[in-house]
């Protein structure tokens, strides 16, 4: 385990905690973006440059911008945050704990396979390799995902369609 | 000198001053619609028919003139207040200028009322433009327009406690320091 990996993991965990614990939702979002960065760092360590870049572009660069956008618009802050009942808190704790349990149980026996330096293919995480895999082995899921996106697009167009008589947008 | 004369009613006889004829026509119409007793002090200074009426009738008259299909006073050119401190019981006045664009006739209507009871019906229901003009008159002269949707000061600061255009109030700021010249007395 390289020091870089340790550092990235440390930052990733810390910022992930920050997401949950931050009082201000804007701070939460910013922590989440930091988390994505560290994840991209991990991808880079795994020689998946393309994935790293796409992770930043799509998650950090677009989706989180939208999150931030919404939060800014709603102007959430401590005062407006509704008080949550104790029951919800307990339920959340139980649900989170269960998830942790399952994760631990699932990953308990996994032993990370080391790699064989001799047979290592440095091109494994590159775009062309990825493209080949995506369009050959996983062509069907890929197309299905595109249908999903199309449906989402149609839906948003319907939602965004102008009401008759309304001026401008 | 009065160019307004040139735009006269076409059917006017050649001999007579067309403006006079036109004004007589408007006056006749006014008398027909609202009665002769309603109007006093009928004048034609510089060719503009001027009548004086009472504040009780002003709203009907303007409304009637606006709705009248013959003359169509669709346009309220301006209105302004006036203050004659010497006229007991008629210290304040409002002066309305109406304009019939289609026939190019102007009409001036005046009303006077005591300063102690400066209440006048609003014209905002007839002309949208009357809104600020009335607020201005309120601001300057303290005329209270009943039925005005939002009668507050418009030009001056809210906390002003007098109506500055009344003749009794001074113009000057009073804080001006650099005027030492009282010799030439203005």
């Amino acid at each position: 385990m390289s020091p870089l990996f340790l550092f990235l993991s440390f930052v990733a965990l810390l910022s992930a905690l920050g997401v949950v614990l931050a009082k201000n939702p804007v701070h939460s979002v910013l922590f989440l973006i930091l988390t994505f960065f560290t994840l991209s760092g991990h991808y880079l360590l795994l020689n998946a440059q393309f994935l790293a870049a796409v992770n930043i572009i799509v998650y950090a660069g677009a989706i989180m911008v939208l999150f931030l956008f919404v939060i800014m618009f709603l102007n959430l802050n401590e005062e407006t945050e509704p008080h949550k009942p104790a029951l919800a808190k307990i339920a959340a704790a139980i649900a989170g704990g269960s998830l942790l349990l399952i994760l631990v149980a699932a990953l308990r026996n996994v032993s990370p396979a080391g790699y064989d330096a001799a047979s290592f293919d440095s091109q494994i995480g590159m775009v062309d390799r990825l493209g080949l895999v995506l369009f050959k082995e996983y062509a069907l899921p890929f197309e299905l995902a595109s249908i999903l996106l199309l449906a989402a697009m149609v839906g948003s167009v319907m939602l965004g369609k102008r009401e008759t008589g309304e001026r401008n947008f | 000198m009065n160019p307004q004369e040139s735009a006269a009613a076409p059917e006017a006889p050649v001999a007579e001053d067309p403006i006079k004829v036109q004004n007589a026509r408007v006056l006749a119409l006014l008398h027909k619609l609202f009665g002769e007793a309603t109007f006093t002090d009928v004048e034609e200074p510089h060719g503009l028919l001027t009548v004086t009426t009472t504040r009780e009738r002003i709203h009907d008259i303007v409304a009637g003139l606006q709705q009248d299909q013959e003359i169509k006073f669709h346009f309220l050119t301006t209105m302004c207040g006036i203050n004659y401190p010497e006229n007991e019981g008629k210290e304040l006045g409002m002066i309305y200028h109406l304009h019939s664009l289609t026939q190019n006739i102007r009409l001036r209507i005046k009303i006077f009322f005591p300063i102690a009871d400066p209440v006048v019906p609003t014209l905002t229901d007839l002309y949208a433009t009357a809104n600020w003009m009335e607020r201005e008159a309120y601001d300057f002269y303290g005329v209270i327009f009943t039925g005005h949707p939002n009668l507050i000061r418009i030009l001056n600061v809210e906390d002003m406690d007098y109506h500055p255009m009344r003749k009794e109030y001074p113009l000057e700021d009073g804080t001006r320091e650099d005027k030492t010249d009282l010799f030439f007395g203005r």
Binding site: - | L101, T102, N104, D178, K179, T180, D181, F183, F184, R186
Partner: protein, 192 residues
Amino acid sequence: MESLSKRAKVLEKKPMTFAERAYLPAIFQGLTITMRHFFRAATKKQITVRYPDETRPFSPVFRGLHVLKRDEAGRERCTACGLCAVACPAEAITMVAGERKKGEENLYREEKYAVSYEINMLRCIFCGLCEEACPKAAVYLQADKMAPPRFERDEFIYGKDRLVEPVTPDNRSKRGIQLTPEQADKLRAQLA
């Protein structure tokens, strides 16, 4: 609404053509126009007047800083009649009149003169009414001088020390009644 004047010219809004809808022609047109100006500015003489180094010519009737004229013998013309002060809409002119004493005939042209004459340049609106009001051709608004900006309020009260034009013929204001060459020579000799 029917026509009121019979000379109305209706400006129709033509719908945009396809080329106009495609943005580009208008953009290129705009770009050519600005580029033409760019080259004109880069090659030909520029319009800008580099102010402190160059100045724009003023009209000879421009209403600038006031001057209190002297006559051809170097006497002050002002007779302190007060018309300028009355005519001033800003009430910026103040003066104190005094009787001319014996022996001062070479200083003041009339029997009455302004002991003090002050113009508050901050109040002044340079409307030229004082110049118009003056019956003695004494006060003029010079065409080639402007009231300079300053740091302090008090510096804007222009007394006679700054208003009365210099005696020397060459420094006289060009505005208003001017000296003929002979008068100037005479004055020059007198001064020398």
